[in-house]
Symmetry: C2
């Protein structure tokens, strides 16, 4: 179990740190610039000047995860990974991100420093710079501790970038590793349940792997990270966007035994749990082995597997459907998530 | 007084609208895409594909304003104006923004629709497209109604863009209109105090005026919008960044009589109140008249005025100081904001 209290120093955030005045200036210099600073950020103009060549990929996400620190990461590393990954899924090299912090009056400054430090480490691993930011402090009770919204931009590397609308008949569907770890880690951590040591969030930056895929395999049709709603929901979105049917082999989907068992106990389905370090890659069958080899050359892709095929709708099937070939030899629809398994999962 | 209840429909936001599943998809289509849609946003990939030529300006801000609707605007129009304006201050043409919504379970959907509609109108006036977005729904009590974080990107139009570090001895300081309206409007609205009809937020997009300034006057040294902390704090920041001293003439600063009176009653100083539709422009004296003429050609710049000069530090002065020449003929330091006048002003 992670323990927030070990980072707490007892020094707390005051409301006037969000005023735009002198206290805000001190907070920005002492806490943020010292951990995230670089020549672009340090200019501290209203907007950052970015040396980027178009076309550009842009993505944004708000992070509200509870608890702030969980096995395998924290809201800071997650806010970097999530946005870096989304930019990468468009075949782009993420270069800069921005971060807007909304902080509750009274937040422990040691905890905040730990989270900002964690963002800095994640950015370093990704090779991405913090370009600009914003800090708001709101009165106690207006927000639960802290939210971070990150926005990433990067240069699109290939002339015909991957898109959820490009899955085509004859393509195969690959996944870069075990599913469900992030969702189960958050859920168990929040509930205070003990976890086997291999159940940790998979939160990681995927930009290096995604870049290797699109630069070596010009026919990568779709890259997407199955976050909220899990693999099942993300596959449904892609099948709808592309107007095709997906056939997924249940037995081929990589899930850790400990995650399967944890999910059974909690009544969760790993196919609907959020992942924060996995890539779905859809491309022509003849490129499948090469793509798996590339994925497996990265630590976060060592358990990459081929899990299904893309077909046109036949018989009673409808375009946009995801059909699961079950372990028992049957077939069933794998629908999009209905309802909400886990609020504040990311 | 604005009245939130008139937009409420009684239909409320459910937690599963933030799940990434089917309910989220419906919310996005019915509420967001219908009001903000365009070919870039409608692709709904993890990242948006932007046709932009570098170099690029990027800016982000989180909006937590209370109340959500106030005289002269709402959190939606404010979140567009604020970020469009920050991008513009770097001599850039804002082209795209992203928006991340963090919404409280139970939020009225009619109110949300009104705010999203207002964002759409503000974007249309600015000539900026919504490129991508994110929606999180958090349980009741985790956030007070809603926050919006917007991030803007645009093309830098001039080879030597304005920056807070470029104010130079001999420059003059211009302001595009009356100060303090936004801060007083929010404060009075929150307190339920009646306001004279001319005290409304000045929230407006400044990109067209800023663009006219930098394209017609290549020697514009600084553009900045005096938001949180007001004119006084923003001038201190610029004087520090540039290593100069500012001399400001109190009698030349445009403030509406009704705002002066309202501030007297509430114990506020209009020089420290946030503005959301004003430009500080610093440039060589020989360009001042032309700059004022350009500002006055826009509705939001009709009361533009010359308010001060940039000097090197002499005698007891220190670089980074802002010195006010008072109406009574004296001089006093105009320091940066200490403490917090107004949380949740933007």
């Amino acid at each position: 179990m992670s323990d927030i209290s070990k980072y707490c120093t007892g020094e707390t955030l005051l409301l006037d740190c969000g005023s735009g005045g002198r206290a805000a200036q001190r907070l920005i210099q002492d806490l943020f610039i010292s951990r995230l600073g670089n020549p672009t950020l340090n200019r501290l103009d209203d907007a950052a000047y970015l040396e980027l060549k178009g076309p550009i990929a842009m993505s944004t996400d708000g992070y509200t995860v509870d608890p702030l620190i969980f096995p395998g990461g924290d809201i800071g590393s997650l806010a970097v990974h999530g946005t870096v990954n989304d930019v990468s899924m468009l075949g782009a090299r993420p270069r800069y991100i921005s971060a807007a912090f909304i902080l509750e009056e009274g937040l422990d400054l040691g905890l905040l420093a730990h989270i900002v430090e964690s963002m800095g480490n994640a950015l370093k691993t990704a090779g991405v710079l913090m370009a600009t930011g914003d800090t708001k402090v709101v009165p106690r009770g207006v927000v639960d501790k802290m939210f971070i919204t990150t926005t990433g931009v990067g240069e699109i590397l290939v002339p015909n970038p991957p898109s959820g609308s490009r899955a085509a008949e004859g393509d195969v569907i690959l996944i870069s590793g075990h599913l469900g770890n992030h969702g189960l880690a958050i859920m168990s951590s929040r509930a205070g349940l003990p976890l086997p040591s291999d159940v940790r969030s998979d939160s990681a930056c995927l930009n290096h792997a995604a870049q290797a895929l699109v630069l070596n395999l010009p026919d990568v049709h779709v890259l997407r990270d199955p976050t909220r709603g899990g693999l099942a929901t993300t596959l449904n979105e892609i099948a709808q966007q592309s107007g095709v049917v997906f056939h997924i082999e249940e037995a081929a989907i990589p899930v850790l035994d400990s995650v399967s068992q944890g999910c059974s106990i909690l009544g969760l389905d790993p196919l609907y749990l959020a992942n924060e370090g996995k890539i779905i890659c859809i491309l022509p069958a003849h490129d499948a082995e090469k793509a798996l080899e590339i994925m497996r050359s990265f630590p976060e892709g060592q358990n990459a597997a081929r899990i299904g095929r893309v077909k046109a709708a036949t018989g009673h099937e409808k375009t946009g459907q995801v059909i699961l070939d079950t372990r028992l030899g049957g077939k069933r629809l794998l629908p999009m998530l209905e309802g909400e398994q886990l609020p504040r999962i990311c």
